[in-house]
Symmetry: C2
Subunit: 313 residues, 2 copies
């Protein structure tokens, strides 16, 4: 007979790994599917300052290694496979992976997170790795003593601009609005940093260069005037795109593609839960994702017991 | 002119301290009111195994010290005062403390947590500290080589019974149902522990003794039969009672006294938010409380900006 899992967790970032910790403690027969590397999107950040429990700054790398270890110590099984689709068959869910494998399970927790969004302008794709980057922590050292532009005004843009200032000679922070959105503590650091200059109410209209990025054409949204800004790097942090393509046909998503759930984190399909950045939640933070991961397993366990006819009495 | 705070956080447990970390990073003018000791109800537990980030078991004491330090490093002001009431005056909230002080603020986050509930039987109050306890971590050493009873079947009851087994000679776990509710991993440890015996479907009907507890009369809910169980300690873990007396006249509470909120953690009054164990949420866990604390501040900040007329544009 084919094996039927209690629970499959898709994604091994903060939300998925926390869900796994709770699943192991609940002794659910579980496997975690991860398409690439455990740790999630937060690994693109250098360090994390606001995860409660670490008064000294901890590297994102180290924190996530520890969470992974905690999950593995409890017996978490991590399979390196990418979920391609979920099919429903009565109470069972069948997950097909890109490697051609098939998993049967009673409940699913989707914790596939989100990626940085593309700007969506011409030549953007062509220049990826040739000046365009979505991760300063990964690529900053290539821009030592160079001039770079950063697009965005949220936490990620500010953090990454600050990180870049350790390498680049000059950073232009290009933001479409007249004020920043990221945490005030980060805004203060940006303002104090002599290498960073903010270009307000402006967007990148064009990217120019031959083999590599040589500069961008900026457009001021108020005056409608454009001007060229020479730079050898363009770092883009303009929001998140959830990893929900593989469920777009079966789950209700919001207009940006995030999974809609109720307070109990259940999606529009019974037995399929979502937590962390992939969910239409109100704050994208590691601590929030972890809290949701714990709750998702708790609710999944209730559902599994119900399906199995186990009643607490 | 009287000082008006942006935000007052009531309670310095996991939820309140996380809210404070985020408030400091958002540069909100904030004070945290704590009636007794920072750290919250979790300090009554010995250790914590399921808070992501600590693969080795960490003591609850140590974890909460670290969270407090993190909040204080960022400049959190902690005032040792007990909130007695909240009054509303246009956009402002006025908090009166039992020490007779008055705080004016735009927004409030209630993170006062919950306490272990009393059983509600005769002589219970009389025997507190004379055999009756709501905290094994605090009182277990007094029961070295003695026989004790533990009432409850949830996580707390199981954890505390296990902790007691390091000291007591014999532990009877009295539970009103026919199965336990706590995590399976804890259930397994209970079953394996030779010192612990479960008494199913039973409740404590009476406590007897003179100066101190000498035993309890148990009643089997199925057979309706009673029998005496001699013991010198009775540890009670039958659920939580939220600390909401001080707001019961102004906020909507559920039938058990927990604060009702929407997904954005706002209570029935605009500008008053709730997070952690005091809230009518679905899982009482440190990681969940911390996640909610972060979100509460995020939503409070939005509210404060709105009241101040600061618009992100």
């Amino acid at each position: 007979m084919e094996k039927i899992y209690d629970l499959i967790i898709i994604g091994a970032g903060p939300a998925g790994l926390t869900a796994a910790i709770y699943a192991q403690r609940a002794r659910l027969n579980t496997v975690v599917l991860e398409k690439l590397t455990p740790g999630g999107q937060i690994l693109l950040s250098e360090k994390i300052e606001n995860y409660p429990g670490f008064p000294e700054v901890i590297s994102a790398q180290k924190l996530m290694k520890q969470v992974q270890k905690q999950a593995e110590n409890l017996g978490t099984k991590l399979n390196y496979e990418e979920a391609r689709s979920i099919a429903l068959e009565d109470e069972e869910k069948i997950i097909h992976t890109s490697g051609g494998k098939k998993y049967k399970t009673l409940a699913v927790i989707i914790a596939t997170g989100a990626e940085t969004r593309r700007l969506g302008i011409e030549r953007e794709k062509e220049f990826i790795g040739r000046g365009i980057s979505y991760c300063a922590t990964c690529d900053a050292p290539f821009f030592r003593n160079r001039q770079v532009a950063v697009v965005g005004g949220g936490n990620m843009a500010l953090q990454e601009a600050l990180y870049l200032s350790k390498f680049a000679e000059k950073i232009y922070l290009v933001h479409r609005r007249g004020m920043l959105r990221g945490e005030k503590i980060l805004q203060e650091r940006i303002t104090k940093n002599p290498k960073i200059e903010i270009i307000w109410r402006s967007v990148v209209d064009q990217i120019y260069g031959e083999e590599k990025v040589k500069g961008v054409k900026l457009k001021n949204l108020k005056t409608k005037k454009t001007h060229n800004l020479p730079c050898s790097g363009l770092f883009i942090f303009v929001g998140l795109k959830p990893n929900t393509e593989f469920v777009q046909n079966i789950l209700e998503l919001n207009e940006k593609g995030f999974i809609k759930t109720g307070e109990n984190l259940e999606s529009s399909r019974r037995g399929i839960f979502a937590c962390g950045d992939v969910r239409k939640n109100l704050l994208k933070q590691v601590i929030v994702a972890c809290g949701e991961g714990a709750l998702a397993t708790h609710m999944a366990e209730k559902y599994i017991n119900e399906v199995k006819g186990i009643e607490y009495k």
